[in-house]
């Protein structure tokens, strides 16, 4: 058995999905070059007001309650992608029949979703959740199911063998829906002249006589009307990236309205991911900005700009603007696959606060890379650990306070240089994995340090304190520093400890280290005194504490 999801009035639905606030209003979609724009599609309520496709925009504008929107190929392609998502959330075998039609193979779904009516109802509800008002039909062959979905509104189930009976009442125009070729139009005109109004009448025509008059095309139409065709589906591949986009009529400047739009896009994209039981680990936000001159690359610190040469189908006016557009990209990489629209929004907001686009925004494009959701098994006796979602948000907030490079975990570098480390992203999953590996390596080789033994720790002065040192026989005897706590005669000293490195690089270092004890107000302080042999500078690097 096959199911077909058909979206009637596709252009209107695509716009309503992007602007849910218009659902209660009369909406008409226009197309064409100004001033010759014509109405392309209308909503039901607009139809009730007498607006029909083919009217000019000027005629439609006479109706004050009507909301007019330009036809958007971007929104239509997004709605099409959502339609495929909806279908693929039930079965991997899905045929992309048209922009507004998808066919699903229902073989083997009974054990997962129940009986046929239950499956159809589930598909219908899923489409509604994704913002698509769809007709859903079930039949034994792919062609009959498409006719049923296009002809009957709501949910339709055609039992096996009763296709001709059920489809008989449909008008002949259903066979030519979505086709504008001259040949098809001529065939329809011939059938109308013969008085063939519905599929039952077409199916009753004698085969040989029809073949003599209309040829193979006529026979195919008769076969379709009888519901007797049979073919296999041509499955479509699952997309590698899920995308959402919004084209704005007027550029937005503030981050607050941008957040409002992002919220809606993220909710839609999360619903699509959830429909496929997937999560994401990478979000890519691309903003098309208005003015090139107003954009200061250095101030914004964005990724390299690329001038967009977009071929827009909206009109000349927008094309002129887009020729001057530039692109601003931000990529959000998460340590673990997540699926939380609110979290994503907050992270994007924090990121955009730290790196504002710097120019009015014309178009928002959001793409996510699907990933398998993480599967973690909790344990009663596991030590506490932060929730990855909470932690990611907290780290983003702290990075906003102290800077992105100043929060995270430490990775030691293979060098003897003092600052021989680098900061890296703090991630729970990575930490657990590396600790597990380390434990497995160290198992039985080395015991943990005894809790009774303390390892003396150094506190680093960043930046170090420059000092003037008096020497006696090459060793320091007195230290003078701007900081009052680090000055006076040397009580005890140990050294020098000579080290050098990176001589093959520009930032070579060579130094003598002394550990010295100085009398301070609170007692005795132990410091690390360093003599930079390349510059001849003495400085106190830190204190033992």
């Amino acid at each position: 058995m096959f199911a077909c999801i058909f979206i009637p009035n596709f252009s209107v639905v695509a716009v309503l999905r992007a602007e849910p606030g218009l659902r209660s209003q009369a909406v008409a979609i226009f197309e064409g070059k100004p001033p010759l724009e014509k109405i392309w599609a209308v909503s039901e309520s607009a139809e009730g007001m007498g607006i029909t496709p083919g009217m000019t925009k000027a005629q439609a504008e006479l109706c004050p309650e009507l909301t007019l929107r330009p036809r958007s190929t971007v929104l239509e392609s997004l709605a099409h992608a959502v339609l495929l998502d909806c279908a693929q959330s039930f079965s991997p075998c899905v045929e992309d029949a048209a922009m507004d039609t998808a066919i699903v193979d229902l073989a083997g779904l009974k054990s997962l979703f129940g009986t046929l009516p239950e499956i159809v109802r589930a598909i219908f509800n899923r489409a509604l959740q994704l913002g698509l008002d769809a007709n859903v039909a079930v039949a034994a062959n792919p062609d009959s199911v498409v006719l049923a979905a296009r002809g009957f509104s709501g949910v339709t189930v055609i039992p096996d063998g009763k296709e001709a009976e059920q489809l008989g009442s449909l008008p002949v125009q259903v066979l030519f829906a979505g086709r504008k070729e001259q040949e098809e139009t001529d065939l329809l005109a011939i059938l109308e002249r013969w008085g063939i109004r519905n599929l039952r009448a077409l199916a009753a025509l004698p085969e040989v006589a029809l073949s003599e008059r209309l040829g193979q095309q006529g026979l195919r139409l008769r076969q379709l009307a009888r519901g007797g065709t049979s073919r296999t589906l041509v499955p479509v591949k699952e997309p590698a990236v899920l995308e959402e986009a919004v084209e704005l009529e007027y550029p937005i400047v503030l981050l607050e309205p941008l957040a409002f739009l992002l919220n809606r896009m993220l909710e839609q994209i999360c619903a699509r991911l959830a429909a496929r039981a997937l999560a994401t680990q990478e979000l890519r936000l691309t903003l098309e900005l208005e003015s090139f001159s107003a954009f200061d690359e250095a101030a914004v610190g964005s990724q390299p700009l690329a001038v967009s040469h977009r071929t827009s189908a909206i009109g000349n006016c927008r094309s002129e603007i887009s020729s001057r557009c530039n692109r601003f990209q931000r990529t959000l990489r998460l340590p673990l696959p997540m699926l939380d629209a609110k979290l994503f929004l907050k992270l994007l907001q924090l990121d955009l606060n730290a790196h504002p686009p710097g120019a009015p925004i014309l178009k928002i494009h959001l793409a996510v890379e699907p990933a398998r959701p993480r599967s973690a098994q909790g344990g009663l006796f596991l030590p506490p650990a932060p929730e990855p979602e909470n932690l990611e948000l907290t780290l983003a907030r702290i990075a906003g306070l102290v800077g992105k490079t100043r929060v995270g975990s430490v990775e030691m570098l293979d060098t003897h240089c003092t600052e021989g480390f680098r900061m890296k992203r703090f991630a729970i999953g990575v930490a657990r994995e590396s600790t597990r590996k380390k434990e497995s390596l160290e198992l039985g080789s080395e015991a943990n340090p005894s809790p009774g033994t303390a390892i003396a720790a150094l506190r680093i002065f960043r930046p170090p304190l420059r000092v003037k040192v008096s020497l006696e026989n090459g060793s320091p005897v007195n230290v003078i520093c701007a900081q009052q706590e680090v000055r006076g005669g040397v009580l005890w000293k140990a050294g020098p400890w000579r080290s050098s490195g990176d001589w093959w690089e520009r930032e070579a270092w060579s130094r003598d280290e002394w550990d010295i004890a100085l009398e301070t107000d609170d007692g005795v302080g132990l410091f690390r005194l360093v003599h930079d042999l390349l510059n001849g500078i003495w400085f106190v690097e830190g204190t033992y504490d």
Partner: protein, 333 residues
């Protein structure tokens, strides 16, 4: 008439709430309630004379409010006993011997002068926590943590979140920033010192602000086994600017969680908010006339004394307990 009531509430510093409740027409003959004072006995002092009927209504309203407030309060005798917190090792056996460890869900303060072993104890606690498989956070006001020391102490660095407060210094090598710095001169004018102090004070305030906000965020996030607030490099005047309410908030945030909140300071600043207060000090064994020693000897002879100043874990007031423990360098063996 009503102006007298308004002025009475205003004089008492309360919001005017009785006027709507009074409705004098509805109860013109109200008699004084139980325990009611006579009109004018108190208000005569304020120079306000009230009619007996209005005063009766006023006092009954006050009594009602009082009873409402009292019904919301729980007497101290009926308060639930606070459960004894779970103790975890501090990483140094000698410290555990006198304190019983560090309490979870409580604030522990460790204070002492420079070179008194505060950072040594900090790293020991972090090591112990990471070896238990917990995640730790160090919020470093002075950006003073030495990752090499942490690695030597045995800290699992992947489990340690380090928040470096303060300004960014782009130089990779420490001496790079000093090339343009003038050499200090003995007995230099106090103006340069004052300038330095002013600049340090400004950056310290900035660091402190960052530290407090980061601490709030991490405590709210939860899930960390140990959170360390490293205030050891902050000037005492700056550290004392932290309002007591902030410490109460931290204590409240960490209560009933498995997190150990540890603060490292020069002097105790959290007051009664800390459940455990440990004072550290040094005791050098080297003789003053011993000038040249080895690295290992210099650091090994550093004896650290620890004293428990206050502990809420015991019902009796804590007795002063002191221990001494030694520390060594990682490379000295």
């Amino acid at each position: 008439m009503s102006s007298a009531v308004i002025s009475t509430t205003a004089a008492q510093g309360r919001f005017f709430v009785f006027d709507a409740e009074m409705q004098p027409e509805a109860c013109p003959g109200a008699f004084p309630a139980k325990g009611m004072r006579t009109a004018g006995s108190e208000h005569s002092a304020l120079g306000i004379q009230l009619e007996p009927a209005r005063a009766g209504v006023l006092y009954s309203a006050i009594d009602n409010q009082k009873s409402k407030i009292l019904s919301c309060m729980t007497p101290a005798s009926r308060l639930a006993a606070r459960p004894v917190p779970e103790m975890v090792t501090s990483g140094i056996a000698a410290i555990d011997a006198i304190t019983g460890g560090l309490p979870r869900g409580c604030l522990t303060e460790i204070f002492g002068p420079a070179s008194s072993g505060r950072t040594t104890l900090l790293l020991a606690a972090v090591t112990a926590a990471t070896q238990r498989g917990e995640f730790c956070a160090v919020i470093d006001a002075g950006d003073a943590l030495d990752p090499q020391s942490a690695a030597d102490a045995g800290v699992h660095l992947e489990r340690l979140l380090w928040v470096r407060c303060g300004r960014v210094s782009p130089q990779r090598h420490p001496s790079a920033s000093l090339r343009t710095c003038p050499e200090p001169v003995e007995g230099a004018g106090s103006s340069t010192e004052k300038k330095d102090k002013r600049a340090n004070s400004h950056s310290s305030k900035h660091s402190l602000e960052q530290l407090l906000r980061a601490a709030d965020l991490l405590l709210e996030s939860g899930g960390f086994g140990l959170i360390v607030l490293d205030l050891a490099d902050l000037a005492l005047q700056t550290a004392r600017r932290i309002p007591q309410t902030t410490w109460f908030r931290f204590r409240r945030a960490v209560e009933y969680t498995p997190t150990v909140l540890l603060a490292i300071e020069r002097q105790s600043i959290a007051g009664s908010c800390s459940s455990l207060l440990i004072k550290l000090g040094t005791n050098h064994q080297l003789q003053r006339n011993t000038v040249s020693v080895t690295h290992a000897q210099l650091l090994t002879e550093l004896k650290i004394t620890a004293e428990v100043v206050r502990s809420r874990m015991e019902r009796k007031p804590v007795r002063p307990a002191e221990i001494t423990f030694a520390c060594k360098t990682a490379w000295a063996g």
